[in-house]
Subunit: 211 residues, 2 copies
Amino acid sequence: MDKKKDISMAVIKRLPKYYRHLAELLRNDVDRVSSKELSEKIGFTASQIRQDFNCFGGFGQQGYGYNVKELYNEISHILGLDKKYSTVIIGAGNIGQALANYSRFDKFGFDLKAIFDVNPKLIGMRIKDVEITDLDQMESFLAENKVDIGIICVPQAQAQKVADLLVDNGVKGIWNFAPLDIQVPENVSIENVHLSESLLTLVYLMNDLDK
Amino acid sequence: MDKKKDISMAVIKRLPKYYRHLAELLRNDVDRVSSKELSEKIGFTASQIRQDFNCFGGFGQQGYGYNVKELYNEISHILGLDKKYSTVIIGAGNIGQALANYSRFDKFGFDLKAIFDVNPKLIGMRIKDVEITDLDQMESFLAENKVDIGIICVPQAQAQKVADLLVDNGVKGIWNFAPLDIQVPENVSIENVHLSESLLTLVYLMNDLDK
DNA sequence: TAGATTGTTAATCGATTAACAATC
DNA sequence: TAGATTGTTAATCGATTAACAATC
């Protein structure tokens, strides 16, 4: 119920970076940080950092800067990391398995509830105590378990169909690794991760430097 | 030796999306496409699409639109996909293995030459005909083999060191999956992929909708 | 030729940076 | 108090959109 203006996507995309760098300062027992110091560390201008924080309210103190712990907590809250999220992975191929095994996400409070696949060779296998289940059973699973986020790791041809099924069964966030842009209704959030596009960007930049 | 102005990063990031959609049109045997049609498919405005293409020269024809095959070839060339790239993966954990297995990249002309790790349990294992080799041997490998791109999948603490080693041995592109921003000299290109940041963005957007 | 659609210039919009008064 | 640094407004910069003449 925050009285929040519309935050631009540019700002939103920077929030996780602030979060990451503040977590690091916290690990290093740094108590306070100025926008100038943060600027040198993150690579945004000090002005931009102050503007960004002020989208959400004044967290700093003139003449002092920002209290690291406090700022970290504020940004955690803004991102919604003071809550837990239940997830399911659909598609237990290379990427699905890698994400299931990736322990980094547990620490943020993400809880992997199930992994689904259609491949009989994979069904029954366990990854980190989570059994790979037949995709046929996903709908009934979603009916019985509240799932916040669906992580789509199936091939392109199946991805939109899987997303529709998730959305129809109450999932409110889709993290998509299939190489297409998944369409969702406007009460559902989507992040499309396009690894190939990132690699192609790198290749462009490499060739650009040769000019 | 193109007479190219400075292309903004916003445009560069859209190029792989054009490439992907044009490849799809090509698969579906579509011969021609107007900026308006492409606009409906990709979700950028027709005006932006024409502006973007005109950064690189006029590929279209008034009254007709764009020839799909021709435009696809142009963008392939702009991205540098008419060349082959040799790659190495450093870190054969979850993500490293997933990327090594991911066949999508082969199709673009990326050729995985080696996989390095420090873990004796992994060394000697094969992924897709590529043997996992002791990281100790990377320097001599790079001396003997031209490698274009190093894909970093090691933990955060080792990532910058690995990047430095790659750069010192002539690698000109770094694709980084470790959760930090790798620093490289300006004659080297870098793409940092931050999966956690993407997930945190999703969570923010989910909470934002609840407001 | 008439209709369609580009290439390109001009107008608008939004995001970043600069500046500085407020204040700790 | 004097020095430092925020919060915030104003100026600048860049990217997107609109418009339309050129032309296929």
